[in-house]
């Protein structure tokens, strides 16, 4: 008997017991939709991470004191903290012709006030080339230049979110905002950067000359040279691995780090951040998949159970089929196709639910919607495997019935 006829028979049987079939495949449906949602959240998170990383500037490297992060893994033991200053920055620049732009970054969280409005943001004291370091673009006005830097003029360039919070529809250019009771003139506003999650929204940053930030934000004397981090933009085509190793050896030499000792600083490049972020996304995926697997297992046992019931209920039918010439193999095939059809239906409904769930979650979490074919195909393959694997025992039982006993329902 060919598969087409068996499939038609299966669908007829499943339709006859609609509610029972639906309840049976509930576990499969939930499991499969969990797989779809998990995959898409994972992918969405990766996309979000990628665009956030691109928001750091393409190929940009950041150096911070104390190594708390290693390639791909957070470190629990934080090595002794050293100061990184503009002196180290100059050493790096002198020894690395691969570097196109380099800027110190002195970062503090500040309250910015305009009239009665208050916005909180990260104020970055930097050099005039900062926009080239992190690939930011000015939307209105302009960035500060070396004149502002050397004359220590109180000017500030706002990220888009701060500008919106403080000025809303008003034109911010030329207006005065207060930071630590010090007036600063807004000379530019930056373009909005894509940002999906996490506390560090780059649109909540504001930039001012390094010399001014020291004075206003830290109140330290002007000879202070400590920085929060150094931002480096290499020339295009530079092998970042080679440059990273070079910077590392310069700093180790400068800090007199002994061979075998851990670094006292951290170098962030896109790759290392990406790896950490992908690990985090991987953990989310793993938990989702474990939940999906548990649900699928429970669902599969449900399918097996209902198939055993079905075989029991249809003992006489099996007997009749055997009497008119069905072999053990064809009885087994019939029940296997039935369980597989059941599971495939569960899988298909699960995929649909998954897509709906995914759209819902993406909207709630402002993640990009990523609809991919691969998890759907994987899901359907999984359901077929479940149908065959968990349907085999009931089908085998059916095929082992003795025709006479089955006909008389003497089981």
């Amino acid at each position: 008997m060919n598969i087409k006829i068996l499939l038609r028979t299966s669908i007829r049987v499943l339709r006859k017991h609609k509610i029972r079939s639906l309840l049976t495949i509930l576990g499969i449906m939930i499991g499969i939709s969990a797989i779809i949602v998990t995959f898409s959240i994972g992918r969405g998170a990766e996309e979000a991470i990628s665009s956030t990383i691109l928001g750091m500037g393409e190929g940009t490297i950041y150096i911070m004191p104390a190594e708390f992060i290693k390639r791909g893994a957070l470190r629990s033991d934080v090595a002794q903290r050293v100061k990184i200053t503009t002196r180290e920055m100059k050493k790096i620049k002198q020894n690395s012709p691969e570097i196109q732009e380099i800027s110190p970054m002195q970062m503090t969280v500040q309250q910015l006030e305009y009239g009665k409005k208050i916005a909180q943001g990260t104020v970055v004291g930097c050099h005039s080339n900062m926009m080239k370091v992190n690939d930011n673009k000015v939307l209105m006005g302009h960035f500060f230049n070396d004149y502002h830097l050397h004359q220590k003029l109180n000017v500030i360039v706002l990220g888009s979110k701060i500008a919106k919070d403080l000025f809303n529809t008003e034109d911010p250019i030329g207006k005065i905002v207060q930071i630590n009771k010090q007036p600063c003139q807004v000379i530019g506003v930056l373009e909005n950067k894509p940002h999906f999650w996490g506390p560090r929204d780059p649109n909540e940053w504001a930039y001012m000359p390094f010399t001014v930030a020291k004075k206003i934000c830290r109140g330290t004397d002007e000879s202070e040279t400590e920085v929060t981090m150094i931002g480096i933009k290499p020339y295009k085509g530079v092998d970042s691995e080679v440059l990273l190793r070079k910077i590392k050896s310069i700093l180790r030499f400068y800090f007199k780090t002994k061979p075998g000792e851990e670094d006292q600083f951290t170098i962030f490049d896109q790759k290392s951040i990406e790896e950490v972020a992908r690990d985090a996304a991987g953990v989310i995926k793993l938990f989702g998949l474990i939940a999906a697997a548990v649900s699928l297992l429970v669902g599969s046992i449900g399918v097996m159970n209902i198939m055993l019931v079905s075989v029991k209920e249809r003992t006489r039918e099996i007997g009749i089929r055997m009497a008119i010439g069905a072999t053990k193999g064809s009885i087994r095939k019939q029940f296997l196709i039935e369980s597989t059809t059941l599971c495939i239906f569960g899988g298909l409904i699960g995929v649909m639910l998954g897509i709906l769930g995914q759209i819902g979650i993406s909207q709630a979490a402002t993640l990009p919607v990523v609809i991919e074919l691969t998890p759907m195909i994987i899901s359907l393959i999984v359901t077929i495997i479940i149908g065959v694997f968990f349907g085999y025992y009931p089908a085998y039982q059916a095929s082992q019935l003795n025709p006479v006993d089955a006909l008389l329902e003497r089981i």
Partner: protein, 227 residues
């Protein structure tokens, strides 16, 4: 050369503590184109004999030959093949599949034999016409009367063109008028299509309308008469 030949067949069931011998020393030869009845009271072993003759069951001892081939030691799939090709069953309870229409029921043995569905449908239609049910092809068993259901069952039994029809109390669930018609149908099949028809019944009146009567008492053949 006999079509069916049972030699010294015995069947013992092992249920409970004591073995129960249901058939003993059964020797029976059935020729082609015979129209006969196996009778006996309930518990006489006639259904067990039918199951063995129909390859639904195997004897505990003895030899059973169909067309001179020993089938008493065949495996389940080989027996399924013989049931499919050589034997058509008609049961007292009709035993149609309730979820299938009349024509689908008739098709089933052919589909198990590997006939294409289109071809099977064509043949099935012819058989349904033959039993006078051309107007009922797409009805489900529940929509048919007992007599009609039994006709569908007969069309199904015929659909692989078997050489033997085994009918177990085929009129047992029918009123006497309908029963007469079914018996008439068997007679015609035997005459026109040269099918060997074996009717298992406790009804002596019915048995006497055949050409040969084999009577069983306590698992033994006690009478074998040509009528």
């Amino acid at each position: 050369m006999a079509l069916l030949k049972a030699i010294d067949i015995a069947k013992t069931y092992h249920t409970g503590t004591r073995p129960v011998q249901v058939l003993k020393d059964v020797d029976l030869a059935i020729e082609e184109k015979e129209f006969m009845a196996i009778t006996g009271k309930s518990g006489s072993g006639k259904t067990t004999l039918m199951n063995i003759l129909g390859c639904l069951d195997t004897p505990t001892s003895g030899t059973y030959l169909i067309n001179n081939t020993d089938v008493s030691h065949m495996d389940a799939d080989q027996l399924a093949h013989i049931r499919n090709k050589k034997i058509g069953f008609v049961f007292q309870r009709f035993n149609l599949l309730q979820d299938m229409t009349a024509i689908e029921n008739v098709c089933l043995p052919q589909l198990y034999a590997g006939v294409y569905e289109k071809e099977a449908l064509k043949i099935s239609k012819e058989y349904l016409e033959m039993v006078g049910l051309e107007h009922r092809t797409h009805h489900f068993p529940t929509e048919l009367s007992g007599g009609e259901q039994q006709r569908v069952a007969i069309a199904r039994a015929l659909s692989n063109n078997p050489s033997i029809i085994l009918a177990d109390e085929p009129t047992g669930n029918l009123d006497s008028a309908t029963g007469e018609k079914i018996l008439e149908l068997f007679k015609n099949l035997n005459k026109e299509k040269s099918v060997t028809v074996i009717i298992i019944t406790h009804d002596k009146g019915l048995a006497e309308q055949t050409n040969r009567m084999v009577r069983l008492i306590d698992g033994k053949i006690v009478e074998d008469t040509k009528i």
